[in-house]
């Protein structure tokens, strides 16, 4: 059986745009192999050129379909495009059915487009880490625009969207209650609002509602980004060009106001913290076993409370660690 190619050897190939090398590196990043860390570090140093766009919205709002059309328009504008499409893992088996690609078939034969499906794997932060590694890989591989399509609404995709330079939130008409439900969460992080399925009669109402909501926090000033609300439809195709125009305008806005630097810092900061948390959590899971069972008995029997048990568990872990280091 042939020996696997070392990840560092794949780096120059990936940087030259070899899609096979990029695909392999994304898998290794996803598996969390230590072997690929130096390669990812090298690619990170050579990334930062691409414009990264996060696309989120409630399940069924038409994100995948929109992403395909948007990616086609990006290609038609002479740019290359990478797509990271994230779907949830089953909480029971850890497996997944990644179906976003079904709606992106028109990009399949295009050498200037790269689509990669990823599962959330249920691990906090794991989502952000591997998908952002994938963004770095495609970025270093020369893709001009990278679209991250997230899972439906929840906590995770607020994180993942903090990973994009531009955030697009997709709402579908007829989901008035959903708009209420996510008002305080996802809607706030939008740089651009999209109302999909604009061919439906109730789309105008959703546009009006969103505009009404946004008009409440309008501040004066020429430098302020005014979040547009764009109605899109795939069949008949309309509004996709407006969306790409808005994304490009937002990129120019970030560059001309210097806000891009702030965003880059924010993204980098988020990533450091997420990865650190993940390392701590893994370490914790590895070490907790000894003390945990005893504490569990006591909490279940109501001889101690969960908070006190958690504090005791952590102090026992700290002692272990300081013994190891001594």
């Amino acid at each position: 059986m042939p020996k696997p190619t070392p990840s560092l050897e794949l780096v120059p190939q990936a940087r030259a745009g070899n899609r096979r090398a990029m695909a392999r590196l994304i898998s290794r990043a996803e598996a969390g192999d230590d072997e690929c860390r130096p390669a990812l570090a090298e690619l990170y140093r050579h990334s930062g050129r691409a414009h990264v766009v996060g696309i989120t919205g409630v399940p069924g709002s038409g994100k995948s379909t929109l992403v395909q059309k948007l990616a086609q328009d990006i290609r038609a504008s002479g740019r290359t495009v990478g797509v990271i499409a994230i779907d949830p893992s089953s909480p029971y088996s850890g497996g997944s059915i990644l179906g976003d690609r079904v709606r992106m078939s028109e990009l399949a034969a295009d050498a200037g487009a790269f689509i990669r499906s990823m599962a959330t794997r249920g691990t906090l932060g794991g989502l952000a880490r591997a998908s952002l590694d994938a963004v770095d890989i495609l970025d270093a591989g020369g893709y001009d625009v990278i679209l991250i399509e997230t899972v439906g609404v929840g906590q995770d995709e607020v994180d993942i969207v903090k990973a994009g330079h531009t955030t697009v939130v997709v709402s579908a008409p007829g989901l008035g209650d959903d708009i209420q439900a996510i008002k305080a969460g996802v809607l706030e992080i939008a740089d651009i609002h999209v109302v999909s399925k604009a061919d439906r009669p109730d789309a105008n109402r959703t546009v009006t509602e969103l505009k009404g909501m946004l008009s409440m926090d309008l501040q004066p000033g020429a430098d302020i980004w005014r979040c547009p609300v764009i109605a899109t439809s795939v069949e008949p195709k309309s509004g996709i060009d407006d969306l790409l125009g808005a994304i490009d305008r937002h990129r120019e806005h970030l560059a001309s106001t210097g806000e891009i630097e702030q965003r880059r810092r924010q993204i980098a900061g988020n990533r450091i913290i997420k990865i650190a948390e993940e390392i701590v959590r893994e370490d914790f899971e590895r070490r907790r076993h000894g003390q945990f069972d005893d504490l569990l008995e006591r909490v279940t029997g109501r001889r101690t409370d969960p908070y006190a048990a958690a504090v005791a568990l952590l102090s026992a872990l700290r002692e272990n660690i300081s013994h190891e280091q001594a």
Partner: protein
Amino acid sequence: MNDDNRSIRVLLAKVGLDGHDRGVKIVARALRDAGMDVIYSGLHRTPEEVATAAMQEDVDILGVSILSGAHMTVIPKIMARLREESADDIIVTAGGVIPDEDIDKLHELGVQKILLQDTPPDEIVSSFRALVEARGER
């Protein structure tokens, strides 16, 4: 790292005019329940699209489901494109309705496993695991 981080990735593909996707969806479900990441191509893909998708997704296994009888047309094209994409380390399996006399020919083309339509889902899961294990690290 736990085993979850190394789940098997599979692309299940329907190619050409074959519109029968009930079987492939049942297989997708069984593989997911066995902890695999399953990418489904959707109906009516070209052989080239399927091979390119398998390369980009860097799957361990490409499973082609064919009930239309077009396997001897479609599979050689998939194998050729995989070689072009230097992705011929991807394990190719075929399933569905395939006459006995074509089985050897498909093996010669490089198809590693042929799972006919009466194969129980559990057997598909275990043969996929065995194929990936036999391949080893890549």
